[in-house]
């Protein structure tokens, strides 16, 4: 628990910022999340400890995007590489947030963060130095795809923060890539604020190498008439947690969440989502798919909260799980908390293996069991992967990665 020791001894950061000071204070008293709470009880303790067992103090190595951008017009950022950004084009503009804007925003947020619900973000803000916070204000439309890379370095613990403000009427495609190096832990916190009438298509692709760990926290605030689509893919992690909190501040917005997690070997990947409707006429469509093989453990917990004010909410959540090995384990808990009476909410969950009738059909046409399974698996993922905003020429990479996975 190197990180925790460093927090306790207060020797993490040489000149802590005010934010870091506040968060260090909050964590010093009680540095670990309550592992008995619903959000943490499935976490494999030794894996969680191994996530904490890297030092923060090392110098980070430079990481490149996993593919080049020769053929297409994209806007790229790597969190931690301090480039000055000020793009002003005919249809859109992207500018870096001022330090004060970032400070105000995080400070406002952490004031009501608590140990259980937002431990990941508190940890992140403790450790994420000014240099490792990327804040952007994005407005306009016809923006080229934005790609943001966050990565951890070999044998270390890295914390990165991303804050994106999407101004009114903005339309954007965003791809976030989280790369885990060998023996490393990445703690990524992301905040997205969607103003009225924005439309954001957000892809998250996270994958690691041998013994990579990831704590990925995503906080999204949606104002009225905004549309937010998230498509995520997490695989190849020794331990990964993906926490998604989405708040439809005034309702009347659309949220679409699609996620895939693939676990092999002894991996543990867990996804937690909390969808909060704070106004009427909100829409949610969510599907989470997981595949667990070997001795791995896959967890999904999803909560949909519909208070009285959120009349005419229409929410659906589906958790589909494939269990491919008798040593693997799946836990899933889709949950509804509803007070408004004029709502349509449903959720569903299935755990099964590949559909035998479908396999037989394909085999009766001469496909081998392996070929048929592959076709079935790729169709299982297709629905979600096809939504990730990745341009066609980079698709090969994703395809290749998935085949390895």
């Amino acid at each position: 628990m190197q990180i925790i020791e460093e927090i306790k001894k207060n020797e993490l950061v040489k000149n802590p910022s005010e934010i870091q000071k506040i968060c260090l204070e909050k964590l010093k008293l009680n540095p670990l999340p309550n592992i008995k709470s619903e959000l943490w009880r499935h976490s494999n303790k030794s894996k969680f400890l191994s996530f904490l067992d890297y030092s923060h103090t090392k110098k980070e190595s430079k990481v490149n995007f996993p593919y080049d951008n020769a053929s297409q017009n994209v806007i790229r950022f790597t969190i931690g590489e301090n480039s000055s950004i000020n793009l002003k084009e005919e249809n859109y503009s992207i500018r870096k947030l001022k330090d004060s804007e970032i400070f105000d925003y995080i400070k406002k947020n952490i004031s009501d963060f608590d140990q259980t619900d937002h431990w990941s973000d508190l940890l992140n803000h403790c450790l994420s130095s000014k240099n490792n916070i990327l804040g952007l204000n994005i407005s306009g439309n016809k923006i080229p795809p934005i790609e943001i890379l966050s990565a951890s370095s070999y044998n270390s613990f890295n914390a990165k923060t991303l804050i994106l403000f999407f101004e009114k009427n903005c339309e954007a495609n965003l791809l976030q890539i989280n790369l885990g190096d060998k023996n490393s832990s990445l703690c990524q916190s992301t905040y997205l604020c969607l103003e009225e009438n924005t439309s954001v298509n957000h892809g998250v692709v996270s994958y690691g190498k041998n013994k990579s760990n990831l704590l990925n926290s995503l906080n999204v605030i949606q104002k009225a008439k905004s549309e937010y689509s998230l498509s995520s893919l997490h695989f190849k992690f020794n331990y990964a947690r993906f926490e998604i909190r989405i708040n439809q501040l005034d309702g009347d917005a659309e949220t679409n969440i699609k996620g895939i997690q693939i676990t092999k070997n002894e991996d543990q990947i867990a996804t937690y989502t909390k969808m909060q409707f704070n106004g009427p006429n909100g829409i949610l469509e969510q599907i989470n798919k997981s595949l667990a093989d070997d001795k791995s453990h896959s967890v999904f917990e999803g909560a949909i909260v519909v208070p009285k004010i959120a009349q005419k909410t229409d929410a659906s959540q589906l958790s589909r799980n494939l269990l491919l090995s008798k040593h693997a384990k799946i836990d899933t808990k889709p949950q509804l908390e509803i007070i408004a009476d004029d709502v349509k909410c449903k959720h569903g969950a299935t755990i099964s293996q590949l559909n035998k009738e479908e396999l037989f059909y394909m085999r009766s046409r001469g496909l081998t069991l392996e070929e048929a399974s592959k076709l079935q698996l790729s169709s299982y993922f297709q629905e979600i992967i096809s939504c990730i905003p990745v341009s066609k020429d980079r698709w090969d990479l994703l395809d290749k990665l998935l085949k390895e996975a």
């Binding site: 035998k356 037989f360 085999r363 001469g366 069991l369 070929e371 299982y380």
Partner: protein
């Protein structure tokens, strides 16, 4: 037997076959032998075991053979996987072709065709050559090429699913085709299309088993033999006029037949 010429050896022989699923016996001693060029029809009420017989021949894992044997071109196929049976030339046209969302029909057809071609030691086809082949076969069943880009059977009407089955049969060029209620759910025009497709695909080397309730498919494709099945057994075998009698008298008529026949 040994002295006969090769053509007269049966393609498919089912000998005194007993089979069950979840400890429930379904087939109780079925025998049938199909020679090249022959068309057999199996008729019977729902639940008599017709579909089970077809699935067992294709190697469905839910059924266990408790007694008897199935020989395909002289070889016992009990130990063969479903795909090995398909590759070697056994084709099952499903009564209810399953929908497989997300899996492209074209890709599926290509992989299946190449698996069969590989078995036949023919050259495997790349995407372009395969598209040419498949378009040629589409005409046989009067299908639009738009079906190729859709997921397997997903959102297909009953008739479209059945045509898709026959399209697969055309591509795989089986030695024996077992068509399980290929006529059900088809209007008369669609039935003619499917029947003419079957006739064009089959030749003097192909064996066909038609599983059906009704005479109307047999009006289009005249069978050489008609078998009546009841409670897991074939209780009567005759020529094509047996089907007409059945149509006239209904299945109650067959209740009087001795099961030992």
């Amino acid at each position: 037997m040994q002295s006969k010429t090769k053509e007269f050896n049966p393609i498919l022989e089912v000998n005194n076959l007993f089979a069950s699923t979840e400890n429930l016996p379904i087939l109780k001693g079925v025998s049938i032998s199909v020679k090249p060029g022959e068309i057999h029809a199996i008729m019977g009420r729902n639940g008599c075991g017709k579909s089970t017989l077809s699935k067992i021949i294709a190697g469905h894992p839910s059924y266990t053979i408790t007694k008897g044997e199935i020989k395909f071109t002289g070889q016992d196929i009990q130990s063969l996987e479903p795909e090995e049976r398909a590759q070697s030339g056994i084709f099952l046209g499903f009564q209810y072709p399953i929908e497989i969302p997300g899996v492209s029909n074209l890709e599926f057809l290509r992989v299946a065709t190449n698996a069969r071609r590989k078995f036949l030691k023919k050259e495997e086809l790349d995407t372009f050559d395969f598209e040419d082949l498949v378009k040629e076969k589409l005409d046989l069943v009067k299908m639009d090429s738009a079906f190729l880009s859709r997921s397997i059977n997903q959102g297909f009407s009953g008739g479209e699913k059945k045509r898709n089955e026959i399209l697969q049969m055309a591509l795989l060029e089986p030695k024996i085709a077992i068509l399980d209620e290929t006529d059900s759910g088809l209007d008369i025009d669609a039935l003619r299309v499917v029947a003419s497709g079957i006739k064009k695909i089959s030749n003097e080397k192909t064996g066909i088993i038609l599983i059906t309730h009704y005479q109307r498919l047999l009006d289009e494709i005249k069978p050489d033999y008609v078998h009546v099945m009841s409670d897991g057994q074939i209780i009567k075998t005759g020529e094509s006029d047996l089907a007409l009698e059945l149509e006239k008298h209904g299945y109650e008529w067959t209740d009087n037949f001795s099961k030992k026949q």
